[in-house]
């Protein structure tokens, strides 16, 4: 599997996801600078976390209009899987690859901690290696991860099976108590209609090694390798 990681000024999880990708694929991904307009043929495009352009406007809003995003969009439309993590989720949502918006966390603060997620769908290249309804532990680290969309959109996402992960308790129960940021219907990650685009706030690359406290995130990268190699 050949992967590309898009690097914006202010990206800061680009190296972390590159390390996780390399651990699963055996080769370093291509790091693509935001000013590039051409993207070589790759099997996976990752838009990493961080604070693109300082997030001084709305999170992800400036990066969504950078030249490289036009190319990312075109590839996504042509079927190349795109993974947006944290700020990457905000960027691809701002760019219109996914519906909805990530608002300020309900308690208004940046929060960095491990959360439990319920895996809602496994019929995607990203989640195929997880068991249906599995409970996985991944960290969040954001101030704007409060997913919002109108009720009709949320109904459609749920109806079409496009919710990828929900915040849950350790036992898999989806409740308000397990919701760290106020996201609508505890949504932590969503797919595009063809499930070739995944955006999620938790960081799979941060728990992809037991030494760092867990490897539930590695399952996603290993699954991608299986699906896309």
């Amino acid at each position: 599997m050949k992967a590309a990681v898009i690097v914006f000024p202010g990206s800061n999880c680009d190296r972390d996801v590159a390390v996780a990708l390399e651990a699963s694929t055996g080769k370093a991904p291509l790091m693509v600078w935001h000013r590039d307009t051409a993207l070589p043929a790759v099997d996976l495009i990752v838009v990493p976390g961080g604070f693109s352009y300082g997030d001084y406007l709305r999170c992800g809003a400036m990066a969504a209009h950078s030249p490289i995003l036009r190319e990312v969009k075109a590839r996504a439309e042509a079927g190349t899987p795109v993974l947006g993590i944290c700020n990457g989720f905000q960027i691809i949502t701002e760019a219109g690859l996914l519906p909805g918006v990530l608002m300020r966390n309900a308690q208004l603060k940046f929060i960095c901690k491990d959360v439990f997620l319920k895996v809602e769908r496994t019929d995607s290249p990203f989640t195929r290696a997880y068991a249906q309804d599995a409970v996985v532990r991944l960290p969040i680290a954001h101030a704007e991860g409060n997913y919002y969309a109108d009720a009709a959109t949320l109904d459609r996402l749920e109806g079409e099976g496009l919710v990828a992960f929900r915040y849950a308790g350790a036992d898999g129960s989806v409740s308000a108590a397990a919701n760290p940021n106020g996201s609508a219907r505890n949504i932590a990650g969503i797919f595009s209609e063809n499930r070739r685009v995944l955006g999620l706030m938790p960081h799979p690359e941060r728990l992809a090694e037991d030494l760092l406290g867990g490897s539930d995130g590695k399952v996603m990268f290993d699954g991608l390798v299986e699906a896309l190699s």
């Binding site: 202010g10 390390v19 300082g54 901690k113 680290a141």
Partner: protein, 736 residues
């Protein structure tokens, strides 16, 4: 120079210069300075930049060891961590600005210390902090906690350097002077360290980073004076941070540092362009001619005075090799940062500044930078306090006392704080906040750094000498407790007004105590910062010589952490317990007393015990390790239990004063846990090393039982411990 201000005695005084200092200015100049020159003297000779009150005593600290590559005097200290790699680190205060404007004050504190580290060629890999706030009941405390924590997070999270730990205390003495001490640790190749000494007459002097504005003018002078009620009027002297620009600056500098373009580099911190240019020139024995018109400015009509004294953030000054200007420019343009050739190195030894084509300042560099005043301020030794006999201290029911202690502001969980910091970015945080020390892997290797910040200000007030020793010893212990070999220290000395002999006495004695401990523990000081005048309306803070320390773990798979790991492990206490209650948290929180001599530190035992504990970790004999500090033994046990959700039963020895055994703060102690089968091995090893070790209980269940005194559920204990800070921060504001 139009609109030139006259140099009146009032102007001199408002620049923080004494009459004697001004006399020295006249001597050095051979004439009266103009306002720009006076401003430059003022900031260069401020306490903050010149260390004039503390220099004499700082020189007594040990600063060398075979593994020290660069000690104090550069932007940060550098130590060898083997395999051609170096760790670069420093701690620095941003106390005064953080009190006036907590978010920006704390944020720019983080930005400043990050720059000190990446200026030397290191990629910053971890941030830490040591915070002291006033009495929780003080009307400003909540606002300050909120702003400082948000500011530290706002800067560190955005730039993408994990904030991996720290410490937070509350005490009424900080009501008017909070302490925000920020530490950064970076990694570099040992043969690619960058220094600040300018070299090469004719070489270009280059300005990079953000534009210069009118913010922060006289910040260094403000940080060198006491506060009064109108200090909030000084808000315009606080700078505004831009972590996004600093992120670009890190990447651009590291990219340029990978080439051979840079001769010398210095960040513009306190006193901005003034101190950076003077330091570079002074260290290189050269002069600089600078055209201030070339300085990138974000405001119009800035005077030479304003340009030289601005403390706008995210700026660097470099000397480049001739012919490398275009290469350097292209790197900074790629990162969309300002790049300007602002001057040239000369052999005159003078700083010549031009504005609008005219010379606006012409100063000799060395007399300013090196011959700055150095004071041997009068000091008096502290009055020794009486040792308190535990038998005279009321014996509260131990489990009730434990509840009070784990819920008191100093011991309550600081999760509310560190969850606002991204402590995982960069993917090498092996031990997250909440342990004795953070453990951060050296990227791409099997090694790791242990990092801690420590100080017990109430001990330092009780006896600055003993408190100085204890701060260093506790840092040593915290590193040892995770399995890290303690290598070196950075210090951040926070005190009141040094012009008062009793405060100067605290400074002198604390430094002497620190020096003793550093020498005994082979733990040299490689960098540091001094913050004096932490007084408001004449009331000083507790003396707070904060210690930041770094240790090395050779094999990242062989570390220890404080949570219990499984039921059925034995709990072993290392060190001697006499039940020292003087200056303890028990005395303060349960008895409302802050008196008594602090517990003494036996340095010869500290080293032996640290070596022993690290040995047991390396041999993987132990399942958990925690140092015993604030609150004493029972608090330490409770912390290990709460962190794991596994309970414990503790068997106090007979014939002791139970409250003193549970809560005495005798120094040099650790708790280890190990499966019963390992216990004889550990006890035998301890015996061989002449170390006191005894089994005091075992792990298991969901309760904490103190045999003979009762049981408390971990759920209740955890609720109290985790509840205090969020409850405090969300309580309705009494003022609004």
């Amino acid at each position: 120079m139009s609109k030139e201000s006259a140099i009146t005695p009032e102007v001199i005084k408002s620049h923080g210069l004494t009459a004697d200092e001004y006399k020295l200015v006249l001597e050095i100049m051979g004439r009266a300075p103009n306002i720009t020159e006076l401003g430059i003297f003022s900031v260069m000779w401020s306490e903050h930049c010149s260390y004039k009150s503390s220099k004499k005593w700082l020189k007594t600290l040990p600063t060398t060891a075979p593994w020290v590559i660069c000690g104090p005097g550069e932007n940060a200290g550098v130590i060898d961590i083997g395999d051609g790699e170096a760790a670069i680190f420093k701690m620095e205060s941003h106390n005064h600005p953080s009190f006036i404007e907590p978010y920006q004050g704390a944020a720019t504190g983080v930005g400043g210390i990050l720059r000190d580290v990446f200026t030397m060629g290191a990629r910053p890999v971890a941030n830490m902090n040591a915070l002291r706030f006033g009495d929780p009941a003080h009307p400003k405390t909540r606002h300050l906690v909120n702003g400082v924590v948000a500011g530290i997070g706002g800067y560190g999270n955005c730039i993408g350097v994990p904030t991996v730990g720290g410490e937070t205390n509350f005490h009424a003495s900080y009501n008017g002077n909070i302490l925000v001490n920020a530490m950064t640790v970076g990694l570099a190749r040992a043969d690619r360290i960058f220094y600040s000494a300018a070299a090469g007459v004719g070489n270009p002097v280059v300005y990079v980073g953000s534009k210069t504005g009118r913010d922060g003018i006289h910040g260094a002078t403000m940080a060198s004076a006491e506060f009064s009620e109108d200090s909030e009027e000084k808000r315009p002297t606080v700078q505004v941070g831009d972590p996004f620009t600093e992120k670009l600056l890190v990447e651009a500098c590291l990219e340029l540092m990978a080439t051979d373009a840079i001769v010398a580099i210095q960040d513009m911190g306190a006193a901005g362009l003034t101190s950076s240019s003077f330091e570079m020139a002074s260290k290189g024995g050269l002069g600089i001619e600078m055209d201030l018109d070339a300085v990138p400015m974000r405001e119009e009509g800035m005077s030479a005075y304003e340009i030289m004294l601005s403390e706008s953030q995210e700026r660097m000054l470099m000397v480049l090799k001739p012919g490398r200007e275009d290469l350097a420019r292209s790197v900074f343009e790629k990162w969309e940062l300002d790049f300007a050739i602002v001057g040239v190195l000369t052999d005159t030894g003078r700083m010549v500044l031009k504005r609008h084509g005219a010379v606006v300042a012409d100063l000799p560099i060395d007399p300013l930078a090196q011959a700055s005043p150095e004071y041997d301020r009068p000091w008096v030794p502290g009055v020794k306090r009486a040792v308190i006999d535990a038998a005279e201290v009321p014996a509260h029911e131990p489990l009730a006392a434990l509840k009070t202690l784990v819920g008191c502001p100093d011991l309550a969980s600081k999760r509310w704080i560190w969850q606002q910091y991204d402590h995982m970015v960069m993917g090498d945080t092996v031990q997250r906040p909440g342990g004795d020390a953070a453990v951060v892997r050296v990227h791409g290797s099997n090694k790791a750094l242990g990092i801690t910040t420590d100080c017990t200000p109430r001990y330092c007030l009780a006896d600055p000498h003993e408190g100085g020793r204890q701060a260093v010893a506790e840092a040593y212990r915290n590193l040892s407790a995770v399995g890290a070999r303690p290598l070196a220290v950075t210090d951040n000395l926070n005190f009141g007004n040094p012009e008062k002999p009793e405060i100067m006495g605290q400074i002198v004695e604390a430094i002497q105590g620190m020096g003793e401990a550093c020498r005994a523990l082979d733990f040299p000081v490689v960098s540091g910062n001094v913050s004096l005048y932490n007084e408001t309306n004449g009331t000083a803070i507790l003396p707070t010589p904060a210690i930041g320390a770094v240790g090395l773990i050779d094999d990242v798979n062989k570390t220890a952490s404080l949570p219990f790991k499984q039921a059925g492990d034995s709990i072993i206490l290392i060190g001697e317990t006499k039940g020292w209650l003087g200056a303890s948290l028990y005395l303060r929180e349960l008895c409302g007393r802050e008196d008594g001599a602090p517990p003494p530190v036996a340095l010869h035992r500290e080293k032996r015990e640290g070596d022993f504990v690290r040995g047991q970790i390396a041999e993987q004999n132990v399942s958990a390790v925690h140092d015993v500090s604030d609150g004493g033994l029972l608090v330490a046990v409770a912390e290990m239990a709460m962190a794991s959700g596994i309970g414990a039963e503790i068997l106090p020895p007979k014939g002791v004063a139970l409250h003193a055994w549970c809560f005495g703060e005798d120094q040099g102690r650790y708790l280890l846990t190990a499966p019963a089968s390992q216990v004889p091995v550990i006890l035998e090893a301890a015996h061989q090393h002449d170390i006191t070790a005894q089994v005091i209980g075992s792990t298991g269940g969901r309760d904490l039982t103190l045999k003979g005194s009762g049981t408390i559920s971990l759920e209740e204990l955890t609720g109290i411990n985790e509840g205090w800070l969020p409850g405090f921060m969300s309580a309705p504001d009494a003022n609004s």
